[in-house]
């Protein structure tokens, strides 16, 4: 009998310790606020992300309190009402229920739900039903199997994978409104520090907005499984000062640089299937299936963020896309080394 008791106690001690251990892990691993360039949902840099983070903290506090109360009750009943050796063979009082207690633990949760719902509905409305100011930056984002197309209808710009938007001064906001479309399967636009995610669904245009309040590069990626290379459909949003943004817009609006030194590469590009998928403004190449290459060199990455835009990476990518991104829809054109070098030279003139 005594032996049974001590083993029960040991077990209880272990249970308690482990519960504490779990709680400690959860506490110790609270996300640390990253300075910048992170993807932490609790480091918001724009109004929608900020209101979501505030709501999230409120919900975390409420659910944390519920957890504390219920966990305490559970732990107390496990410890207090553990079977003891002296009770062996005797049954405790048989209690069948209590209407008052049931009422109490029905009504209190109902009140909590009302509070949580009202707090949430307010934020839903504030984010989703925000009016679009007349001078907002408009961007059409189109999801493709495995890259992003960005079109600025008012500015006449087409680019890919790296979105440039101006920083928004709270006293004179210049928010960016995105229209979200898809060319093939479902995708989801998620830059955690700028806004919650919204899906890009064919035949189902969506809208989202952001008004970033600090400059920098913000990372994100496709969040809705869209096919083989869903993992390497990365996103970067460059939040520029108004001056930098204006300069970027001017550069993007200009036609492709005509560099006679790369005429051989251009010929390879235009005599192969490259131009069926890629566009270079001002040349016969006007394919829409792949990213627009008019200002390829203005981007810091290639292959939707899968590799840095360096000479070697570019060469490898054109030679064998599956070396960087297996499952990518860009085929290897099996170019000779000379043609390959020529095309890379041509690409490097597209500033």
């Amino acid at each position: 009998m005594l032996k049974m008791k001590s083993s029960t106690l040991r077990l209880l001690a272990q249970t308690t310790l482990l519960f504490f251990w779990a709680a400690m892990t959860a506490w110790a691993s609270e996300p640390k606020v990253s300075p910048s360039n992170g993807t932490n949902i609790f480091a918001p840099a724009s109004t929608p992300a900020k209101s979501i983070a505030d709501l999230s903290v409120f919900v975390l506090v409420v659910t944390g309190l519920i957890f504390a109360v219920v966990f305490t009750l559970l732990l107390y009943s496990v410890v207090k009402f553990r079977g003891r050796a002296k009770d062996a063979g005797r049954e405790p009082a048989q209690v069948y229920g209590s209407t008052q207690i049931e009422l109490a633990w029905t009504i209190i949760p109902i009140l909590i739900v009302v509070v949580l719902f009202l707090a949430t509905a307010r934020i839903i409305h504030a984010i989703q039903d925000a009016q679009e100011p007349a001078d907002a930056i408009q961007v059409t984002a189109i999801g493709h199997q495995y890259w992003w197309e960005f079109r600025y209808p008012r500015l006449g710009i087409v680019t890919a994978n790296e979105l440039h938007i101006p920083v928004s001064d709270p006293s004179h906001p210049t928010p960016t409104f995105l229209q979200l479309l898809s060319a093939d399967t479902d995708h989801s636009f998620w830059v955690p520090e700028l806004a919650g995610k919204t899906d890009l669904i064919p035949n189902h245009p969506n809208r989202m907005w952001m008004d970033p309040q600090r400059t920098g590069i913000f990372f994100g990626q496709c969040a809705q499984y869209c096919g083989t290379q869903h993992a390497k459909m990365l996103l970067r949003v460059s939040v520029d000062t108004p001056e930098d943004f204006a300069a970027w817009v001017r550069a993007q609006q200009s036609p492709a640089v005509e560099d006679t030194s790369a005429i051989a590469g251009r010929r390879v590009f235009e005599s192969n299937a490259c131009m069926n998928c890629h566009a270079v403004a001002g040349t016969p190449a006007d394919g829409r299936f792949g990213p627009d290459l008019t200002h390829l060199m203005s981007r810091t990455t290639i292959a939707a963020g899968a590799a840095n835009n360096t000479h070697d990476n570019l060469r490898l990518w054109i030679q064998d896309p599956s070396a960087i991104k297996p499952g990518s829809l860009m085929p290897s054109m099996k170019l000779s080394d000379a043609d390959l070098d020529a095309v890379v030279t041509y690409m490097e003139t597209l500033r």
Binding site: T8, L11, Q14, F19, A22, T25, P31, G38, I41, F42, S56, V59, L60, I66, V70, S77, V78, F81, R82, G83, R90, P92, A93, Q94, Y96, G97, S98, E102, P109, V113, L116, F117, I123, I124, H125, I127, Q128, T185, D186, S188, W190, P192, K197, T198, D199, P202, N203, H204, N206, Q221, C222, A223, Q224, Y225, C226, G227, Q229, H230, A231, P326
Partner: protein
Amino acid sequence: MSSNAITIPGTQIEARPWVDELHQWVTTVDHKRLGILYILSALLFLAIGGVEALIIRIQLMRPHNDFVSPEVFNRMFTMHGTTMIFFVAMPVLFGFANYLVPLMIGARDMAFPRLNAFSFWLSFLGALLLYFSFLGGSGLYGAGNAPDVGWWSYAPLGARAFSPGHSSDYWTLALLVSGFGSIGTAINIIATILCLRCPGMKINRMPLLVWMNLVMAGMVLIAITPLSAAQIMLLIDRYLGGHFFDTQAGGSAVLWMHFFWIFGHPEVYILIIPCFAFMSEIIPVFSRKPIFGYPVMVAATVCIAFVSMSVWAHHMFTIGMNSYANSFFTLTTMVVGIPTGIKIFNWIGTMWGGRIQFKTPMLFSIAFLFQFLIAGLTGIMMAASPFDWQLSLSYFVVAHFHYVIVGGILFALFGAFYYWYPKMTGRMLSERLGKWHFWLFFIGFHLTFDVMHIPGILGMPRRIYTYEPGRGWDTLNFIITIGAFIQALAILVFLANLVISYFRGARAGNDPWDAWTLEWSVSSPPPAYNFATVPTVSSRRPLWDLKHPEDPDSRYE
């Protein structure tokens, strides 16, 4: 025929050829044997789905890992999800329902024994079809193929343009065929409970396990049908030129989401309600008290069933519904937390004032309460739709639903295994191995799934086969993978316990836990006909009344 003239099958030792024995199992219509077949097939697929999970975890344990190709990784998470939901969780729960419901209501079998066998073999055929895709996905020559569309196969990824070949057709057929099996079983459970209760077992005297399985079966009828309809529509799209979900011809991707989730969310409750049922039997017995608030537990279960039919679009908060729809589904999702909370309180109320015995089934039950509480609270977080715009489709949501399915459903199931294994086999499972199993699994579970919330908060989306270093995800993913292997070790201990105890376990006797429901009044394992004479009951705890004639429950009900 008097009851003492009946000998128990199994104690008669006959040298029967194994083919004969196998034949009996294959052709059986006995609810107990079918129950065990369901459970064994689920254990087989648990092992397979578990290996798939380990492959996923090895691939993700460090950035830029190339353990498997992206194609293989995508097949693994598709097969893991589909297998675990349709060919592990549902069959194992149907198995327990099959085994226990007739015994608990004093019936000699299910209402339709042949339909019962048909349903099991349909479900099993479904599983075989799914796994045949590894061989026949692109015709027999295409080795190493399997569906890679994710377990919800969102349109238009499942359309022929994006999923050529036949691998996703095997996924469709597997769900369609096993869905018919599930519907058959659900009809059977409902008919059995409504028509075959023993004298005196009024509907408000049924054990809670029976009540909850009744509700579960009703939900299966409502939830599986839209899934089957959607699968048929998908086949029409793929082979008969239909355009239901073919976006390039004007079809609707969102329609598929609605069809899938109006199945998918009730499905979660179809899985968890039978686990509530296990808890509602195990916790009272090991607390030595009747369930606290029986009528409230029944009402809460029915309430959950109704409300859970109106929450499906909380899986779709990111698809751009308008603010009113988002608010509506936020409200319904939070409301479903109320009856669920009431259940947790009632289980704690049951333990309160009891004399809790920490046998392995009870350990798993207490861990269930703890983990299900957390899973419910992270569910509330995601019910707040703006919060969900960040958390949805991230590792946070993966951690959340594994908390429900592993921390809730699987822990409850392990409790059920330790509790009813003696009834099914006549042998006790080893408590020593049981404790090892429990603590290893508990530690592995928390190491994996507590930590898994954090990469989600740090912006890691689900279903990516690799990730860049330096995003703060590396160490976390490494810890998660270690936890997964500890869980796998625990499962091995469990399987070893099942096998070793079958041969060497202590004899269980009729009623090893001093319990109160009718299945413990018959021998272990029960005879083919269950009850020599059909019992008559006069309260919710017939065996309590027998053991305490001076203070029977029937006096208070």
